[in-house]
């Protein structure tokens, strides 16, 4: 399990807790992680935490969050739980899915 921690102030409970479920280092998985990092840096800078779970390593974790599709992004916090499946290539839909108000372009 790799934890990508946003740099800077480290709080116990970030406002956004995200989990990304992948299965090995496939193209789709790597793309999803890259896209997610980019989106978070752009719109949630300093307020998020990403946990990447490789199901090939920890298959027992798949049932807990009801994972079927890979990759799946799970928003645990804030409630309610949301899921976004796919490689997260469509930024707009990811933002809608996460219910994140986009930061206006500068």
């Amino acid at each position: 399990m790799t934890v990508a921690q946003e740099p800077g102030t480290r709080r116990a409970k970030p406002e956004w807790q995200l989990k990304l479920y992948v299965a090995g280092h496939t193209t789709k998985s790597m793309a999803a992680l890259a896209n997610l990092k980019h989106i978070c840096e752009t719109h949630l800078a300093g307020r998020y935490e990403i946990e990447v779970i490789d199901l090939l390593v920890k298959p027992q974790l798949a049932a807990g969050d009801q994972i079927l599709a890979v990759p799946t992004l799970v928003r645990k916090v804030p409630e309610p739980m949301r899921k976004i499946i796919g490689d997260l290539s469509n930024e707009e839909r990811v933002l809608v899915g996460l219910d994140v108000r986009p930061v206006p372009d500068r």
Binding site: A23, L55, Q66, L68, A69, K83, I85, D87, N90
Partner: protein, 570 residues
């Protein structure tokens, strides 16, 4: 029914060479599929809502785990593990314990469409990983996917889903999993989402039909690639001990045959059956129209069993138990004492209460639990609302087979409609062919009265009377009496009594005449004797007289002799 869980491969029908099969352990299903489902391949079970797909799938796993030592994974897309366990507990299956023992893994896959947003490419590797993990954890050989189609509602992209399902079935085959996949029935095809495209090796179709307000479940093997199979529709039932499919004909006829004979409870009938009654474990069919004494015969049958100290069950579908007891008491048959002693169980229920399958299950259950030596069913014809229901025959074959294997002597009554010309026998041919002994009761109307008669069209393996007898009821039981044949007619009732009286009078008359003749003869003889005595006396007298005469003549001759000698010198 407990036999079903035996791990005995000998009870399984022989498998064909070539295609390996995995027995389901579900009663009857392995017989229809000639050994079970294809090993290492997926089988599709489709049917409408509430058909028993989940029950069948779950029992497949439970039997696999308990009877064949094959652990299984239940992947549920609809019910939660707790719900499933609660539902299966009603069939007597303890899923919680099986899970604890590592013989079963339940994974509830929940897909909420509203929670899911799709952005970009994905696959269902998560599902594969979950399934693979569960399989590896318990070393599963069997997999159930119930109902995969829930995914179509939960995932936004059907194209991805279809290609992933195709991959899933290949993956299951590669891993050698014997899988049962359930699917909802579609309008014009077997399944709503065309699952039969992916799972094409073996397809079972479940169906629940309502005929005359009574529902019956049926199962059909639509397709079984590489194997022969029963092609009929088979009724099946879900009882408190699992699923049970009823093949129309049991494939084997190898129940034991007993030579011991048991009484039918009617002395005259026993006499007609070679004087000893029927074979233990045999089946007796009693047919007749209304009021011919079928129920009474059934009561006598169980009464005789209880007299021998055996256990009996009487299933009645026409009257209540108290009414039956009262009616039989009026004939001097006291069944109540047997009920009190615990030897007799009278089970009265309304035929329309449940479908045929439920009645059959009830009989199975009661017989398996009470283990009686004798069972009577009064009447079987009432169990179905339709006339000539083919299911009834199927059910009876199954029931008769079952009772024979349990060495239970059985009696079934059936109502026949009195035909215009003679034999009501015709209508019952279908059922009678599987019974060992067939008793036909009929009403004869003649001379202004109606009498009951009994005849025995058949009784396998024993000498039996070909005569028609009269069935007589009195307040001290029932019995049979010989009928009189006069000219071309069989005489019963008053005509029989009149004939009896006439014959008695005739024989009295003949006796008197005979005595008279003897008397005459004696008289004549005495007369002759007297005459003989007289003649003898006369003969004696004459002889005496003759003697005297001879003597006298002799004296005279002697005196004259010397004179004669002097008168003739030479």
């Amino acid at each position: 029914m407990a036999k079903r869980t035996q791990k005995n491969s000998g009870t399984q029908p022989a498998q064909e060479a070539g295609l390996p099969k995995t027995p389901t352990g579900i009663a009857g299903l392995d017989e229809i599929t000639r050994g079970g489902l294809p090993t290492g391949r997926p089988t599709l079970v489709c049917g409408g809502a509430g058909c028993g797909k989940t029950m069948l799938a779950a029992e497949f796993l439970v039997r696999g785990a308990t009877a064949f030592g094959e652990p299984g994974v239940f992947m549920s897309f609809e019910e939660s593990g707790a719900d499933l366990a609660a539902n299966m507990r009603s069939l007597g299956f303890d899923l919680v314990k099986l899970q604890r023992d590592g013989l079963l893994a339940i994974d509830h896959v929940q897909v909420e469409r509203s929670e899911i947003e799709e952005t970009g490419e994905y696959d269902l590797e998560g599902l594969f990983i979950r399934l693979g993990h569960a399989i590896d954890r318990i070393g599963a050989k069997r997999v159930v996917l119930d109902t995969l189609e829930a995914l179509f509602a939960g995932l936004p992209n059907p194209a991805v889903l279809r290609s992933e399902l195709r991959r899933l079935f290949h993956w299951l085959k590669d891993r050698g999993m014997t899988a049962v996949v359930t699917a909802e029935r579609g309008d014009n095809m077997l399944t709503r989402y065309g699952m039969e495209e992916y799972v094409a090796d073996c397809v079972l179709l479940l169906d629940q039909r309502i005929v005359d307000q009574v529902s019956t479940r049926r199962l059909r093997v639509v397709k079984y690639r590489g194997s022969s199979h029963g092609t009929n529709e088979y009724p099946f039932l879900i009882s408190d001990s699992g699923l049970s499919v009823l093949p129309i004909t049991s494939p084997r006829l190898d129940h034991p045959a007993y030579t011991e004979r048991v009484s039918t409870g009617v002395r005259g009938l026993d006499e007609m059956l070679g004087g000893q009654g029927v074979y233990r474990g045999g089946s007796v069919l009693v047919s007749g129209s209304a009021g011919t004494g079928k129920s009474t015969l059934a009561a006598c049958f169980v009464d005789a069993a209880c007299r021998r100290g055996e256990k009996a069950i009487l299933f009645v579908y026409e009257e209540s138990a108290p009414q039956l007891l009262r009616n039989m008491r009026s004939l001097g048959i006291d069944l109540e004492r047997w009920v009190k002693k615990g030897l007799l169980v009278i089970h009265a229920s309304r035929p329309a209460l449940h479908g045929l399958e439920q009645h059959l299950v009830q009989m199975y259950d009661m017989v398996s639990r009470a283990r009686p030596q004798v069972v009577a069913v009064d009447p079987i014809s009432n169990l179905t609302i339709q006339d000539a229901d083919p299911l009834l025959k199927a059910m009876l074959v199954r029931l008769v087979d079952f009772l024979k294997y349990e060495a239970v002597t059985s009696l079934f009554t059936t109502l026949t409609h009195e035909g215009s010309h003679g034999p009501e026998l015709l209508s019952e041919i279908g059922v009678s062919s599987m019974m060992d002994t067939w008793v036909v009761l009929s009403n004869h109307e003649y001379n202004g009265e109606r009498t009951r008669t009994v005849q025995l069209p058949k009784s396998r393996g024993m000498a039996h009377s070909n005569q028609v007898r009269e069935f007589v009821f009195s307040d001290h039981g029932v019995d049979l009496v010989d009928v009189f044949v006069s000219g071309q007619r069989v005489l019963t009732g008053a005509a029989r009594q009149a004939q009896q009286a006439r014959q008695a009078a005739e024989s009295l008359w003949r006796e008197r005449e005979h005595a008279h003749r003897l008397q005459q003869l004696a008289d004549q003889r005495r007369l002759l004797d007297a005459q003989i005595a007289g003649l003898l006396a006369e003969a004696d007298a004459r002889e005496a007289e003759l003697g005297l005469t001879i003597e006298r003549e002799g004296g005279r001759v002697a005196a004259a002799a010397p004179a004669a000698r002097k008168g003739a010198p030479r």
